[in-house]
């Protein structure tokens, strides 16, 4: 691959990213600060063959997850048939009893799914987690590609790369597909949210209205946008960028000041689509992750294409025994945490920490999962004048509308710390563009 030009123009690219304000927000000591999202201009390159494989596997996985969500809030066949123990569903913090019986427009719960993958040193891809609530990050590779093409056109002339700048079109088509009649809006908690850049950028690129809680009102079972001239515009689809619990104070957290009162009543009457549907957290729970391959077999009658990272549930006696015996070789995750928090590598704990952790795990086995540590491939990162190797993952975006489509790109996040597996931006990680080659390599 010829990307010397891109590396040569790294400074120009970073200056363009600064010019375009490609930032994310972070709270440090309760003070909101915006900072540039560190970008490494050496892309992750995925061969056409690898992408074709991932494409099939991701479509299969997301279709099964959508089938699960539809089932779990209606018939619950998968529980009745004993495939998933009911306690794993009902004790999940993502399961919302308030969503019982609701069938969303076009039967789609997860319209935008962010699936986190890593490529192992063995060449296999592993799914690390599914993000079906409000997965963020697509805007960064989207704008980075645009700016890289500007800074180094030659690179894109010399390489056969799938154009990733269609994300906004895919997203718009996804919104339009479930729109119940009215305008599309992107609902943001506001300027001081970590992902505000993304909210506003996606609203602009999809031609949706960017709205905050004060801009929307429920009237006679419909949701409206309040125009400055007093006119009310009907809303048909809400791409919400806030968590379920804050969405509607009349249904969820009553102290929420950033929600839309009575939104859930409108939603239940099929007068508006909510993207992604409330209640999806039950399917991306780290405990439920273990069961996704079983879901694929159950709903689609197919063999799972993608691999989960080998996972153990201390809830099961056999797995618990394995976790206790191999504690130092495993990574343990608190299912209630996200963003790289609540992740513990067994071999990093002191003996007293280990004892405390095991006691807690035995007391609350449903709260934890344990996984084999995947030795995932390092990727080259430019650090000053040198190239170093760092851990990186890949978030792929799968959009479910009329059909399920995988965006031919993704957010590659890398750790800037040489000893760390944690790639989250909130913990100092950076990002890369992800190239999908449009032609076979041979």
């Amino acid at each position: 691959m010829c990307m010397n030009d891109l590396v040569k123009h790294a400074e120009k690219i970073n200056s363009l990213l600064s010019r375009y304000g490609v930032k994310f927000g972070i709270y440090k000591n309760n003070v909101f600060k915006e900072q540039l999202f560190p970008f490494d201009c050496i892309p992750r390159i995925i061969s056409k063959e690898d992408f074709d494989y991932l494409n099939k596997g991701l479509i299969q996985r997301v279709d099964a997850l959508n089938a699960f969500l539809l089932d779990i809030y209606t018939d619950k066949k998968i529980i009745k048939d004993g495939v998933i123990p009911e306690e794993f569903v009902y004790s999940s913090s993502g399961y919302l009893v308030e969503c019982e019986g609701i069938v969303p427009p076009q039967n789609i719960h997860s319209h935008i799914s962010g699936i986190d993958l890593v490529e192992g040193k063995d060449g296999k891809w592993y799914v690390l987690e599914d993000n079906l609530r409000v997965p963020s990050g697509a805007s960064y590779p989207m704008i980075a590609r645009d700016l890289c093409r500007k800074a180094s056109p030659q690179t894109f002339l010399n390489n056969n790369i799938e154009d990733n700048r269609d994300y906004a079109d895919l997203l718009k088509a996804t919104m339009d597909h479930v729109n119940t009649g009215g305008i599309n809006v992107v609902f943001t908690p506001g300027r001081y949210n970590a992902a505000y850049f993304e909210h506003s950028y996606l609203a602009e690129k999809t031609g949706s209205q960017l709205v905050g809680p004060d801009d929307l009102v429920v009237k006679e079972d419909y949701l409206y946008f309040k125009n400055y001239n007093g006119h009310l515009e009907k809303v048909g689809a809400v791409y919400r960028r806030i968590s379920d619990e804050y969405l509607d104070p009349m249904t969820f957290l009553e102290e929420s000041l950033i929600g839309i009162p009575h939104l859930m009543e409108v939603y239940k009457k099929h007068h508006v689509a909510i993207i992604n549907a409330p209640g999806n957290g039950v399917a991306d729970d780290k405990g439920i992750y273990y069961f996704v391959p079983k879901m694929i077999q159950y709903y689609l009658h197919e063999k799972p294409i993608l691999h989960n990272a080998p996972t153990y549930l201390p809830y099961y006696e056999k797995d618990r025994q394995y976790v206790l015996e191999h504690f130092d070789d495993l990574v343990l995750k608190d299912v209630a945490e996200a963003g790289g928090y609540g992740v513990v590598f067994g071999n990093t704990l002191t003996s007293s920490q280990k004892k405390d952790f095991i006691d807690l795990m035995l007391k609350e086995p449903r709260r934890f999962i344990a996984q084999e540590v995947i030795d995932f491939k390092d990727l080259p990162i430019q650090e000053g004048e040198t190239i170093v190797e760092r851990k990186a993952d890949l978030r792929v975006f799968v959009l479910s509308g009329e059909t399920t489509k995988v965006w031919k790109s993704g957010l590659t996040r890398f750790s800037r710390n040489p000893d760390s597996f944690i790639v989250n931006s909130s913990q100092g990680g950076g990002f890369k563009d992800t190239w999908i080659l449009s032609q076979s390599t041979d």
Binding site: I183, D215, Y228
Partner: protein, 220 residues
């Protein structure tokens, strides 16, 4: 009729006001700084004209803080931050492309370190604000959005000119520009105060303080 949220209406007006404030302030500062080269105490007069408190130790302190101190609410940087804060929530209305010009203006201003030769960097801030306005005119499709930002600019310019006690002809010129925007923007304003303002501006002897009060209370 364009779709604009109620809160965004305020942001549009204030984006216009603060971007104009930075622009007019820098242009006035250029002239003031030139006088300060010969008269080191001119900064006191400058503060009086702008009606800002003289919290500065000396001319050097004034120059550094007035340009770049983000804790000084009257500094150029503070005003540019306020323009930026209003801009950042308007991506939907004005577009990423327009925003980049204000982003660069802010980056350039923040990059000033050498106060012995900073006028050229300050000039680039003016250049980028002008480019920002030009970009708005060029690419924003919503007529209301453009008109409301311009309305904010015209209000601010007249307000500043009055505070700076500019001569009658400049004040009236600023008023004519405002008058034009008032007619075009569908923004609610106090008509009685507007008519009173017109009267004051065209009086033989302008009552500057009354005019400032009226300009400030035109729009809620």
């Amino acid at each position: 009729m364009d779709i604009i949220a109620v809160d965004r209406l305020n942001n549009l007006i204030w984006l216009g006001r603060y971007s104009e404030r930075v622009y007019t302030t820098i242009k006035t500062f250029f002239k003031g700084y030139d006088i300060m080269l010969d008269d080191p105490y001119f900064y006191v007069t400058y503060c009086e004209r702008f009606q800002i408190p003289n919290i500065y130790k000396d001319q050097r302190d004034f120059i550094e803080k007035y340009v770049l101190d983000e804790n000084d609410p009257n500094s150029i940087l503070s005003n540019l931050y306020r323009a930026y804060d209003n801009c950042i929530v308007l991506r939907n209305e004005i577009g990423t492309e327009s925003m980049t010009y204000l982003e660069v203006a802010l980056n350039n201003l923040k990059s000033i370190h050498d106060f012995d030769s900073f006028m050229l960097e300050l000039q680039t801030v003016v250049d980028y604000i002008l480019a920002f306005w030009a970009c708005l005119s060029d690419i924003v499709e919503k007529y209301e959005v453009k008109t409301i930002i311009k309305l904010g600019r015209r209000i601010e310019r007249l307000d500043l000119y009055l505070r700076l006690r500019k001569n009658v002809s400049e004040i009236r010129k600023a008023f004519v520009l405002l008058d034009d925007r008032m007619k075009r923007a569908s923004v609610a304003y106090d008509i009685e105060k507007y008519m009173a303002l017109k009267e004051v501006i065209y009086d033989d002897c302008i009552d500057y303080d009354k005019a400032i009060y009226l300009v400030e209370s035109l729009i809620d």
